[in-house]
């Protein structure tokens, strides 16, 4: 397939790997933030290829993993209401809330459906005018244009049975938090390619300058990530801390203005709790007041549901890249994709799930019973 296969070419990958290994004269710790990028890196065993000088740490790039506990509880509460059609992206269905998950709600008789696109939820609302249709709008900035369009269109059509439970999170505030930690070891970042397709990469320039850390906007195929890693290593070796763009075929510095105009019309920036991390200021989106009629939290009166996060949890450390999944004492034993204990094991893009699925045979002996 065009624009996919070329970026998976093994021969070119080998050359990039050789160049990376040649360029790194000392150890470097790099982080990618997007779940899709984590998936590719682990699926192709890229860290294995890079040798011991490059350590890849997986950041909080899975929106499913970082969706706050109380949002899950709100979703479960809404989905359990009779006659509600609750529509969600697939990976959210297995994420545990405080007492249940959406799959269980479905098993108990809730009408929970999987959609590929928020427009599918809109269509369901049109086809079922007598029933409330709620879309679980989760994601980073990448999904925000789509999610905002669904509710924007619903308002234009007067589709009053449609509403959205919104839980967007934003990448730059999370990176800022990471960089503020004294325990932070990450020296360079692969910025998320599709988030930046929408948002551009201007926001990272301030971070690069203030914290003196290089960023390279990377794509999702193995060659994209290898090239991004090479650019990062070169910056680090040369003592530069700039923002570069590897994913030029999709990303420009200013991003997609049409998308952002739509988002700004519908969403406003708000403080958000990140599961496993805690509150991060100005790190999420919620619906603006003039979309209140489509805000599922208000429509169903679930705004007051809250769920305190446990204070110490290795999920947090994994999500911040301070620990690897294999460092966790229950990884692979009590905590597996079938019996997940934390969100990074539940989501197919969570670092723990990816490690379990693809890489546990490389874990130190004794890590898995």
């Amino acid at each position: 397939m065009k624009y996919l296969d070329e970026y998976r070419d093994p021969a070119l990958a080998r050359r990039l790997v050789a160049e990376i290994r040649r360029s790194a004269t000392q150890p470097w710790v790099l982080m990618e933030i997007c779940g899709g990028q984590t998936h590719t890196l682990v699926k192709y065993g890229i860290e294995e290829l890079l040798g011991s000088r490059i350590e890849l740490v997986h950041g909080p790039g899975c929106p499913v993993c970082v969706t706050p506990l109380e949002i899950l509880d709100k979703a479960i509460a809404i989905a359990s209401i009779p006659r509600v059609i609750f529509v969600s992206y697939g990976d959210m269905l297995r994420v545990p809330g405080s007492h249940s998950d959406l799959f269980r709600v479905k098993a108990a008789g809730g009408d929970v459906r999987i959609a590929y696109s928020p427009m599918d939820a809109l269509r369901l609302a049109r086809e079922n005018p007598q029933r409330p249709v709620v879309f679980f709008a989760v994601g980073f900035e990448t999904t925000a244009p789509a999610n905002s369009t669904a509710v924007w269109q619903a308002k234009r059509e007067g589709l009053l049975n449609f509403s959205m439970l919104v839980s967007h999170v934003l990448v730059p505030p999370a990176i800022r938090l990471l960089l503020e930690q004294s325990a932070n070891r990450v020296q360079g970042f692969i910025a998320p390619g599709h988030v930046c397709t929408v948002m551009g990469y201007e926001e990272y320039e301030e971070l690069a300058a203030r914290y003196k850390v290089p960023f390279v906007v990377g794509g999702f195929e193995p060659l994209d990530l290898l090239e991004a890693i090479l650019l990062l290593v070169r910056q680090l070796e040369e003592g530069r801390a700039q923002v570069e763009n590897q994913y030029v075929r999709s990303v420009s510095r200013g991003g997609n203005e049409a998308a952002r105009r739509r988002m700004v019309e519908v969403f406003e920036v708000v403080d958000r709790n990140w599961r496993g991390i805690g509150p991060i200021a100005q790190s999420g989106y919620r619906l603006r007041p003039d979309y209140a009629a489509f805000d599922a939290e208000k429509v169903f009166g679930v705004e007051t549901i809250s769920a305190p996060e446990p204070p110490e949890c290795i999920s947090a450390l994994v999500l911040q890249g301070l620990k690897k999944p294999v460092d966790c004492p229950v990884f692979g034993s009590r905590c597996t994709p079938a019996t997940p204990m934390g969100a990074p094991m539940v989501s197919s893009e969570g670092a723990c799930a990816i490690y379990y699925q693809y890489r546990r045979h490389t874990a130190p002996a004794g890590a898995i019973t």
Partner: protein, 349 residues
């Protein structure tokens, strides 16, 4: 259930007390359901083997006996329907034991309100599928449930077949050094079905690969009896089939990603939805474990047969990582092909 968690990660949910869709997916949850709920009460050494079919001796003949239920939605899809699937699926389970199909039964659970014309179309399709094999449907049953209790129509077929003299197929015969052959491209059925489901709304020319495999199996056994085991990778995909064999035979399996054929349409759909073809269902494919000296002739025999003309060697059986299925990427690195707990979920990111 005791709380195993001193470890305060968000939400350890007890393994549930209700059936979820994942229990039917052919993945880990399905296996656990069998082990935890059924095997403790059904006392049978034959059942404990957990093969696709039960093979037993009766008055000097070896019979194979199997049952399968079909709950596919939509009822009619490109390349087949629930009826042809019900016939082929059970014939295939028999074929994986090397058995020639003798007789089938057909049980129907019908939802009140189902159009009789729909049922007639299904019956016609079943009859045609059975005639083509040929196998007779000799007994059956019909029940009706109240509206709202079913997906319109469920079918159970049970089959009995005869295992020829000298033929012995069992996962326990698989040993290190054996070669793994795959009869053709994977993922056709699952993606063809997904395309017809209203939720995901994509179009394709892809057709289900639904087909009876007994002819292909016979052609393979005719050239060599050094075939250890066969499996048809239905629900749970190639991954489940390989993992089941690895687990039953206590061996490791290594496969080459670049050797596994996947049609363009399946790749496109999987890329779009964030699915992995290794987990997508097939209904007209088989994977065979063959003694190394016989692999070439068996592969040639497969390629001479219409259902195996794209057959390929995809991997080997090893003793270096028992019970693990590893995949070698085109980059030369390896990763685990694990059994999913339940159904594969489309990814957003």
């Amino acid at each position: 259930m005791s709380d195993p968690i001193q470890f305060t990660c968000p939400l350890p949910l007890a393994v549930g007390d209700r059936i979820v869709l994942g229990h039917g997916s052919g993945g880990r949850l399905s296996v656990e359901l069998l082990r935890d709920v059924f095997l403790p009460f059904f006392h049978s050494p034959i059942l404990n083997r957990l093969d696709d079919q039960a093979v037993f001796e009766f008055r000097g003949a070896r019979l194979a006996f199997t049952t399968d239920s079909f709950v596919v939605k939509p009822l009619f899809f490109r390349g087949g329907d629930i009826g042809s699937l019900a016939v082929h699926g059970t014939v295939n389970d028999l074929a994986m034991g090397g058995a020639t199909p003798l007789y089938l039964s057909a049980g129907f659970i019908l939802e009140e309100g189902l159009e009789i014309e729909t049922l007639r179309r299904v019956a016609e399709s079943m009859g045609r599928a059975a005639d083509d094999i040929p196998v007779e449907i000799v007994t059956g049953d019909t029940k009706v449930v109240e509206k709202g209790s079913g997906d319109g129509l469920f079918i159970n077929t049970t089959g009995i077949g005869l295992v020829p003299e000298g033929v012995r197929l069992s996962p326990t015969l698989v040993r290190p050094g054996d070669l793994v052959l795959l009869s053709g491209p994977i993922g056709d059925h699952g993606i063809a079905i997904l395309a017809e489901r209203e939720g995901l709304q994509f179009s394709t020319d892809l057709v289900s690969d639904c087909a009876p495999l007994h002819g292909l199996v016979a052609a393979m056994l005719a050239v060599s009896l050094d075939i250890r085991a066969m499996r048809d990778p239905t629900r749970g995909g190639l991954s489940s089939a390989l993992n089941e064999i690895a687990s039953r035979a206590q061996v490791g399996i290594t496969i080459e990603e670049s050797a596994i054929p996947v049609r363009e349409e399946v790749r496109g759909a999987c890329e779009m939805l964030g699915l992995d073809p290794l987990y997508v269902a097939n209904e007209g494919k088989l994977v065979a474990f063959v003694a190394p000296h016989a692999a070439e002739s068996v592969l040639a025999a497969m390629r001479r047969h219409p259902l195996g003309h794209d057959a390929v060697l995809i991997g080997t059986v090893t003793d270096t990582h028992p019970e693990l299925v590893l995949l070698r990427t085109p980059f030369g690195t390896t990763r685990i092909v694990d059994m999913l707990p339940g159904d594969q979920l489309p990814r957003i990111c």
